[in-house]
């Protein structure tokens, strides 16, 4: 099954049985574009790890590339996570708070 078919299948899964909106060429190609943009942007951003260590950058790019290839398509999952559900928004808000505080409190004292 190629990536296009996989994306169509994922969109159908997310929409569920009740939603009768057609899966158009436009929605699938949009999802495909978003998928490619997401992966390529993350990979290019990871190259910035060269500031810390070249080996770390190389390993991180390879690991993320492999993970992305295995878990493809990512964008339907991303879209599902970034929905308007208050519960999921709350979860990510608390997660972000934990990350920010850890970075500032622990990171600045120990790095």
């Amino acid at each position: 099954m190629n990536l296009y078919d996989l994306i169509v299948k994922k969109i159908k899964d997310i929409q569920g049985e009740g939603d009768d909106a057609a899966i158009t060429n436009m929605s699938t190609s949009s999802m495909l574009t978003a998928e490619i943009t997401l992966i390529s942007s993350i990979l290019v951003a990871l190259v910035m790890l060269r500031m810390v260590n070249n080996v770390l950058m190389f390993v991180a790019v390879l690991v993320v590339l492999m993970a992305a290839l295995i878990a493809m398509p990512l964008m339907p999952h991303f879209k599902k996570e970034q929905n308007d559900s208050l519960a999921s928004m709350m979860f990510y808000v608390i997660l972000a708070l934990a990350i920010v505080i850890t970075l500032f409190y622990w990171g600045n004292l120990n790095v």
Partner: protein
Amino acid sequence: MNLLIPLMVIVPILCALFLNLLHKKDRTIKTIAIILALLLPALPLLANYGLHYFGGYAPLIENPTLSNNLPSLITGTALNTFHPAITYSFQSAQKIFVFILGLVGLLAIFTSLYETRRPSGVYGYMMFMGIAAVTAILLTDDIFNLYVFFEIAALATVGIVLVSNVKGNYETALKYMILGGIAAPLFLLGIALILGVTGNVNISDIIYSLQNGLVDPKNPVLLMACGLIVFGWLYGSGLPPFHTIKSAIYSKALPSGAALIQTFSVFIFIALGIIILRIFSYLPFSQWVILGASLLAMILGITMAIVQTDIKRMIGFLAVGELGYIGIGLGLGTAFGITAGLFQAVNEVIITAFLFIGFGTVLYQTRVSDTRKLGGMLQRNPLVAFLVLIAGFAMAGVPPLNAFQSKLMLIQASITAGFPELGVIMILLSIVTFMTFMKAFHAVFLRPKPVDLELKNEDIPKATIITLLVFLVVCIIIGLFPQVVTSYLQPLATSLAGGIV
């Protein structure tokens, strides 16, 4: 003392209160609202640069008559330089920011007066109050005063959404308030911790205390405060994880309201970003966190925009993505990068308002925002289609429009600062932004009109067309003469960068 500085905040508050007293006198309200709204961009142009001390309480160092009678216990210490009153600072960067806020405010109010049934009432009140709050956020040098207006801006945002007659607006406004109920108190806690450690809420005095050894900069409480203020910054500006709710808020407001709310978000983003850079730039993580959050906003915002089917939600996510460009400029930490970031902020405010009001004409005529149900609007409104096309070109950074100049500066700044990867990502995402816009443009204007699409309003108000034309002129002028804006931003950028060009 320059009395025009506080008037920039007082005038919109008075407008908000006064216009409701004339309830039901629609013509009078329209005339007075337009005249008073004209003052919003005019006041920053007329005011001179300087500081305004509320109550007239200047620092002792500036008041020799008073300080000569005081013991050296006070005048010989840092107390001599501290600011005892709330201080507003009006410099060249504030001049351009308040002017642009006033201009977008004027045009949004002008549009709303002719698109809504009643020109008075809560909607107009909330718009004026929001403008007053964000102006105060841009001017104040007092972090607690900033928090008060930060909350007023959040309430005005919720109010604008609540009174917009859009399906699902109550639920989205409630969610925004619930999330604000978590983030805003934590932001206040951060301010309280700073007050606890430094004994001050004046930003200049806090920086003085840190730079002159009055406070230990590595105090763990201060680090915690920085983390909490950064969290408040994420909430106020709609960076991840608040990007979903912020884009939802934009999509549940009327186009004029959405244009204004995104302006609030951008100016809160830069006001808090500047404060974080001013106070905490000595912390190695502050710049990295700004860069990381901005990069995430760009990637998530733009990739989510392309998969949307609702035009307003699409522009909402694009607006979040464009915030990332501003943050990249600030996070680079060089004078050129910060100038480029601030310049991008000015451009984004104008272009996103242009797009919201431009696509809003379609919503006004059809009451439909789902791209799958729209089409054929080019034949109906060729002029509006042309104006919206230019707005989309501007957002994607097509020359000679304004965002081309700022995005080019940002890419140059990232390469000069040693981050060419950021330049590559910005180019890639600009291309995707262009594609996202063209997808929406094709669906709304170029595709044949669906048979079941009905027009609820035949004619677009002339006020809306005038507003779009003004935005077009501003985009072209700034695009051709970027120094008109950048010359105002450079002094602030140079001081924030601390000598790094």
